[in-house]
């Protein structure tokens, strides 16, 4: 039966090519627009560390001593608070992060100096965030204590400086200090670059920069502060820093701390520790809002910062409104198409076809339109993503169609056309055979 319907549908579609093309085009455009934006949305709102993000937390203590009714603590920590949390060693793993631009030269190469971004962190960073290595590995915890002059570099930087060869053991000059490369990362592109995310609620939706590539150089926290002293930027200061760029003793928030807590008991215990710490610092007069402590999980923190740019969200909503219009359009055209064949339907009904059979036949025709529209939509989605990739935004390089989105394109297209076909098919199946036969 299905084969017969298919044959009928193809004949019918061939009969009025313009109308068919119009329907296919409408569905293709609607699908193309919504799948392009949905793919970008899917990439930007995903979990940067699937399976791990649940055990990662971002502790916050309100270290701003200015009195006032602030509902939320600052997005970053000052140096003493960060060090106290880190040195308590209460979590399964803990690390601190701060990024800064640094002048870099590779003495073995003839390349001009670069100014990449450097992340100063601790050895736990790599294990905690499951960072993949191509050559070598992370530095050891002792290196953090010894202020060791070592570095891990990104795969991009390794390609640029050493053509992708194993560069472990070679030397880089960071500003005026030589460091030894101990590890080279495999390509690593968490989206967003979650570990430095902060201040999203003040960005008015312009959060595309949260999706920039990772830093090119990673150094032990203690070493990084010495190597690049004077070049650190604060998140905010409540008094001017005595020496700009040197923030260890400055009244400034500038450090992010991450902790890994493997079970709910530990999470609760850590929150108690934070509250206790804030209360103790309150007693000492350093903290004025001890109630302002937070321990958000990674996904909660991203959500709190509204990391998906508002332009992307707006475009997604628009694309679906667009799809709705295409849907109305297709319903109208299918209705016209089916009812124009009322005579033919009347004959089939008179010859014994049931209403269900007419309904099914019409839906098969709608489904074929959907399939063709899906194909067109796929091409338009690929074109749309190509346009996104050519945009000057930080997440441009991420915009690719993955398997699940590929399948979703067709599912959405066929679902759209079937929904579009429901009403016209129902109307067609209710055609009264007697009346139609009389007018033939």
């Amino acid at each position: 039966m299905f084969g017969y319907y298919l044959d009928l549908a193809l004949r019918s579609l061939k009969r009025n090519k313009v109308l068919t093309a119009l329907m296919v085009l409408a569905i293709a455009v609607g699908i193309g627009a919504s799948m392009t934006t949905l793919t970008v949305m899917h990439l930007l709102s995903g979990d940067p560390l699937p399976g791990r993000s649940g055990s990662l937390f971002y502790p916050q203590v309100d270290s701003n001593p200015t009195p006032g009714n602030y509902k939320e603590p600052l997005d970053k920590l000052d140096y003493p608070t960060a060090m106290d949390i880190l040195n308590a060693h209460l979590a399964d793993r803990q690390t601190v992060v701060v990024d800064s631009p640094v002048k870099l030269r590779a003495p073995d190469t003839q390349l001009p100096p670069l100014i990449p971004s450097m992340l100063s962190t601790t050895s736990d960073f790599f294990a905690m965030f499951d960072v993949p290595f191509r050559y070598g590995g992370a530095w050891h915890a002792e290196d953090d204590d010894k202020h060791a002059r070592v570095a891990v570099i990104s795969s991009d930087l390794n390609a640029k400086l050493f053509n992708g060869a194993n560069s472990v053991g070679r030397t880089l000059r960071l500003r005026d200090t030589d460091v030894r490369i101990v590890g080279v990362l495999a390509p690593w592109r968490p989206a967003p670059q979650f570990y430095t995310v902060a201040g999203g609620r003040f960005a008015a939706g312009k959060t595309a920069d949260f999706y920039s590539k990772t830093q090119d150089v990673f150094t032990p926290f203690t070493s990084g502060l010495e190597i690049n002293d004077g070049n650190f930027y604060q998140y905010t200061c409540w008094h001017p820093a005595p020496t700009p760029g040197h923030l260890q003793n400055a009244p400034c928030a500038w450090l992010g701390v991450w902790v890994q807590l493997n079970n709910p008991t530990k999470v609760a215990a850590f929150k108690r520790f934070l509250d206790g710490y804030a209360a103790q610092q309150h007693a000492l007069g350093r903290v004025v809002r001890p109630q302002n402590t937070r321990l958000r999980s990674l996904m909660e923190w991203l959500d709190f910062n509204g990391v998906v740019p508002s332009d992307v969200r707006l475009q997604t909503w628009l694309a679906f409104a667009f799809l709705a219009i295409c849907l109305f359009n297709t319903i109208g055209l299918l209705l016209a198409k089916f009812l124009r064949r009322s005579g033919e339907i009347g004959v089939r009904r008179a010859l014994g076809a049931s209403r269900g059979a007419i309904f099914a036949q019409c839906l098969v025709e709608a489904g074929i339109v959907g399939l063709l529209g899906g194909l067109g939509g796929l091409l338009l989605t690929l074109a749309g993503l190509w346009v996104v990739r050519s945009q000057p935004v930080a997440f441009a390089d991420l915009a690719h169609l993955d398997g699940s989105m590929f399948l979703l394109t067709f599912a959405l297209a066929i679902a759209t056309s079937l929904v579009a076909g429901l009403l016209p098919a129902a109307r067609a199946s209710r055609v009264a055979p007697g009346l139609q036969l009389k007018t033939l």
Binding site: F202, L314, A321, F322, I325, L333, A336, T439
Partner: protein, 409 residues
Amino acid sequence: MMLQIKPILSALRRHKAGAVLIALQTALTLAIVCNALFIIQQRVAHLSAPSGIDEANLLVIENSWADKLSKEDADAQQRADLMVLRRLPGVQDAVASNSYPMRGGGWDQFITLTPDQTTAVGDAAVYLGDEHFMDTLGVKLIAGRNFRPDEIRPIANRENVMPPVTIVTKTLADKLFPDGSALGKPIYAMSNTPTTIIGIVDVLQTQSLADWQMRNAYQSLIWPMRLVGNAYYILRAKPGQLAMLRKEAVKALYAQNRMRVINDDGVMGYAEVRQKAYDSDYGMAVLMGVICVVLLAITAAGIVGLTSFWVGQRRKQIGVRRALGATRGDILGYFMTENLLISVGGAVVGVLLAIAMNLWMVTRFEMHRLSLFYVLAGVLLLLLLGQGAVLAPAIRASRVSPVEATRSV
């Protein structure tokens, strides 16, 4: 014409589904097009905001020293650089600064009226420059005076010093002293040392154009300092000389001293600065424009399709009317009026939908309230679109010959 409305309505009652579909499609399209036009207008207004400087003739060169220089050496090098640049044929004037308008961000400073005030009266973008700054950028002095050469002092990249005098924009002066008495008054930039306002300039855009900084737009101040570390050289070319200077200026700087870094993307005319600064606005405006055009095309195609079907369905009735004496104009008018009725119905729903959509975007995307003008423009656009789309099928209907009435009744 009016007489026809009743039969049209009763005919429409028999084609409810089709009529409702066209009306709904019109409504949704109207809602989206209104809001899209409004977004385009907002973004375009944003990206055509004046900067107050002579953009057509300005060139920015980002210079950093290859070696670590002492402040004295860097100062001497920079003086030599500026001398070379100002002497170049085709250069009207040149200055060294920490930044330039529309750079995308940079140094800004809370300003208070007394040293112990804790909440800032204004947040101002800080530009460092010598007595050539205003002349180079083409900024207009409207009160007070320019800096004297003896007031200029060199500072290194991370030095934290307060200048005794400053020049401010009119916007900042009015914000700090609404009564217009800013000239000669002291202000404080998170410091105990006062800075006296000696000059007021007309318009000078800030460095950041981010939305959250918009309330600080045009609040800029100029400090009489020359940043001798890594700095931006700003050149004002004589008219028509900018393209030539791009290469010549960099060549002259390297000839003066080879030990410097000037990246290829560190040399920018203001066309590029503006484009970089407003990239996302421009992209959004274009995207919205494309969406509007495609939507209107799809809606028009839908109207053509359904109306053609109705014409085909009613050939016999049209023939009867023609045989009974209706003119071609009557038939044409019938279909045009029918479409107008449907479109007006859709427009009423569409206006409500457009306003609802805008209110929702105001809460979710920090959008402004939709002005009525865009709603009216959208309604007019869609009514015209409907009439235009229905024209071809309606003309075909008017050509139906009265003979059709006699066929197979």
